[in-house]
């Protein structure tokens, strides 16, 4: 079965992204496919590669990057939410005249249409938030 996931909370502030990750991992272990994870609102903060948690803590951002690479999951960050919160890829940084970008590997920035599409193209859309 095809699952899509939406995450609307950032890392280290709320359990939502941890729950979503554990759900994704369990779904893959059962042979399901995670087609896309859409990061919305504060959820966009899951996609900054500049995150440096203490060594004895989980690395929420890297964890998403790794599971996405290993299982071909499309990690999409909402562009409007990302711009407000300082999440930029190379193109967006250039377009906005910023001197750096910070998007983590495996993530890409796109629009809300990607959430709608994920809902249409997947069998289930599961929302994790606050």
């Amino acid at each position: 079965m095809k699952f899509a996931i939406m995450v609307s909370e950032g890392p280290y502030t709320h359990q939502a992204t941890d729950s979503a990750y554990q759900f994704a991992k369990a779904a893959i272990a059962k042979g399901h496919e995670i087609t896309r994870v859409f990061f919305y609102h504060d959820g966009v903060n899951n996609g900054t590669r500049l995150t440096v948690p203490p060594q004895d803590d989980r690395h929420v951002v890297n964890r998403w990057s790794e599971i996405a690479t290993q299982n071909n999951i499309d990690l999409v960050i909402c562009i409007a939410a990302a711009q407000r919160r300082g999440l930029l890829d190379e193109n967006e940084a250039k377009r906005q005249g910023k001197d750096a970008n910070n998007i983590a590997p495996g993530f890409r920035i796109s629009g809300l249409g990607q959430l709608v599409e994920a809902g249409i193209q997947s069998d289930r859309l599961v929302v994790f938030g606050d």
Partner: protein, 98 residues
């Protein structure tokens, strides 16, 4: 429909909303994160969960993390994340009551 509640019933009214509006048509409630507090034995919400008329599931890792292993009411079903996945797959729709 699978109704997912992730808030304590003492924080928000989302569980009360679920129990009020969820049709008794084969739907189920899954308590995750702080939602698991609703299933504590002898709590103020125990009676309403028992009267819900639909299956109630509790995400075990979240109950364990809160030290509730031996303090949950009878009649709820414990699931791990694999069971969570099965519940989502087994219902046509999933609603997270955020």
């Amino acid at each position: 429909m699978l109704h997912i509640v992730n808030k304590s019933p003492f924080d928000t009214g989302s569980l009360a909303s679920v129990l009020r509006v969820a049709k008794k048509d084969g739907g189920a409630v899954l308590l995750i994160e702080d939602g698991v507090y609703a299933a504590v034995k002898n709590s103020a919400t125990e009676a309403s969960l028992k009267a819900a008329g639909m299956p109630v599931y509790v995400l075990q890792p979240d109950a364990d993390a809160r030290g509730l292993q031996s303090r949950l009411m009878e009649g709820v079903n414990m699931v791990d994340y694999g069971g969570f996945v099965d519940l989502v797959a087994g219902h046509d729709n999933v609603q997270s009551w955020l």
